[in-house]
């Protein structure tokens, strides 16, 4: 019984924090809350317009090919980079209230999910505009995104603890995310890459996410079961150990803050 109450309080706090963030960002602007929708849309429009004009390779529908990759990358980057400072920046809240530590991480996840949602709307519009045929395999996007959320949250948990324990990790991490950007096969299909590069990239869970999404959204085919299994295993591992590490480090964090 008690646990139930905690969960709904949890959700309430998270939504409130996210709202506070949104309002702080959009207060006193002309468009106000509309910017939460307009921003991701504008981003998509700019990217599509640009990549449509390029004579880049002979890949069909390159803008969409690339956009799907970039959306996943931004989702990953937004959550994990935001996680690093989620504890350190909110020192006051954490020390003076009885909020559980991961509230701020979850708030970040929640806002990025909303941002992703609006980007998806733009993506759907683009699918229609480019007349991409779709079938039921499109529904596979739901489990894919679900796995993505858990994966990124798991990584975020490690990073949130390290953000407190190891200073300067945000600089190091920004270098790492740059490496990941180029190691996720976002820009070229696997067939265009060297054998060596291919072997490295298929180990990257972010690539698996992107590849499976492209399969079910762009090419109207079922994503590879193999990839899904690898992903689920990786995600489970990361999430479970992330949570355990997070809980175990509570004392140390409190001391450091």
């Amino acid at each position: 019984m008690r646990k139930d109450i905690n969960i709904s309080q949890y959700a309430f706090v998270i939504r409130q924090l996210a709202r506070k963030e949104h309002i702080k960002n959009t207060s006193e602007t002309r468009l106000m809350e509309l910017w939460n929708v307009a921003n991701p849309l504008l981003y998509m429009i700019i990217m599509t317009a640009f990549y449509s004009t390029l004579f880049l390779h002979d890949i069909e529908n390159y803008p969409l090919f690339f956009l799907i990759g970039i959306i996943h990358y931004n989702f990953f980057n937004g959550i994990t980079s935001g996680a690093i400072n989620s504890l350190a920046d909110n020192k006051n809240f954490l020390l003076t209230t009885r909020l559980p530590n991961n509230v701020f991480l979850l708030e970040k996840v929640y806002s990025r999910i909303i941002y992703l949602f609006y980007q998806s709307i733009a993506l759907v519009i683009l699918l229609i505009y480019f007349r991409i045929p779709v079938n039921l395999s499109l529904l596979c996007i739901i489990p894919i995104l679900l796995v993505a959320v858990f994966l990124h949250t798991g990584i975020g948990k490690f990073l949130a603890v390290w953000g407190v324990l190891f200073p300067d990790i945000d600089y190091i991490y920004s270098i790492i995310t740059t490496i990941i950007f180029f190691a996720s096969g976002l820009m070229y299909p696997l067939s265009k890459l060297s054998v060596a590069a291919r072997q490295v990239i298929v180990l990257n869970p972010l690539f698996l996410l992107v590849d499976m999404t492209r399969d079910c959204v762009l090419y109207a085919r079922m994503p590879e079961l193999n990839s899904m299994i690898k992903l689920i295993l990786t995600t489970a591992f990361v999430y479970v150990f992330g949570t355990i590490y997070f809980e175990k480090s509570k004392k140390e964090i409190m001391m450091r803050l």
């Binding site: 602007t29 002309r30 468009l31 910017w35 921003n39 504008l42 390029l54 600089y171 920004s174």
Partner: protein
């Protein structure tokens, strides 16, 4: 005579204030950091080395100097984008101090620009290290870079004065400007050689001032050529034009907009 001496000491005071404001920002930024200000140089160096490795393997022997092409563009671009983005919110962020701050308010804007410039200088150190490693041939056209950066700074100052006031007036400007930068970063061909763009787009891009600063830097350092007269005239015209526009706009709108606070 007296007023001259007064304005000299005023200017000295202004510089001092700018330096103090910048020092405060830098201290705050590296408060929790272990390596501290050393990161200002290490981070760009790491990034440049990483991108060089990536682009060298991606484009291989064909475009050996693509890495340098990228780094040069990146250097100038980050100066421009960081300076304008941070200075846009300078007035708004410091509005609490306005009542007690006796000196001109635009010093807050200048201090942010100065901070970005200091970071740029640190990045230059990293840039020089990397270009030396790549064995770029020195040529007298290198000195053109000083003029290029100087003109770019004038442009930045003018633009920032307009943006910082507009931001107080309409907070939407931040979103509009961020998206505008997204568009711009693609048009100036940071990550792609310009050949990829179709002809008409390239012609359009040649008119964009930020692109001109980047193109000049690339030409001076990588190709060892001084830009042609048209480019030089455009550069100077844009820099002085935007600077004066910014100052005039600021002088005429400062009171009206600050009243809104």
């Amino acid at each position: 005579m007296d007023s001259n001496i007064n304005s000299m000491s005023n200017i000295k005071q202004h510089f001092f204030t700018i330096k103090e404001l910048t020092a405060r920002e830098i201290k705050r930024k590296y408060a929790r950091s272990y390596l501290g200000i050393f990161w200002s140089m290490l981070h760009p160096l790491l990034y440049m080395v990483l991108m060089s490795m990536i682009f060298s393997t991606m484009y291989g022997k064909r475009h050996n100097d693509f890495a340098l092409y990228f780094l040069t563009g990146y250097l100038i671009w980050s100066l421009f984008s960081n300076a304008t983005k941070t200075s846009m919110t300078a007035l708004w962020d410091n509005k609490a101090f306005f009542a007690r701050f006796k000196q001109p308010k635009y010093l807050f804007v200048f201090s942010r620009i100065y901070t970005a410039f200091v970071n740029f200088l640190f990045s230059c150190i990293a840039y020089i290290i990397v270009t030396l490693f790549f064995g770029v041939k020195f040529s007298p056209s290198f000195f053109m870079i000083f003029a290029d950066v100087f003109l770019c700074m004038l442009f930045i100052i003018g633009l920032s004065m307009i943006l910082s006031l507009k931001y107080i007036d309409k907070r939407d400007i931040k979103y509009i400007y961020t998206n505008f930068l997204y568009l711009l970063i693609h048009l100036v061909g940071l990550y792609y050689p310009m050949e990829i763009l179709p002809e008409n787009v390239r012609n359009f891009v040649n008119l964009i001032p930020v692109y001109l600063y980047i193109k000049t830097a690339r030409e001076c350092i990588l190709e060892g050529v001084i830009p042609d007269e048209i480019t030089i005239i455009s550069l100077v015209a844009w820099s002085l034009g935007v600077l004066f526009l910014g100052m005039i706009y600021y002088k005429s709108h400062e009171e009206k907009i600050l009243k809104k606070l």
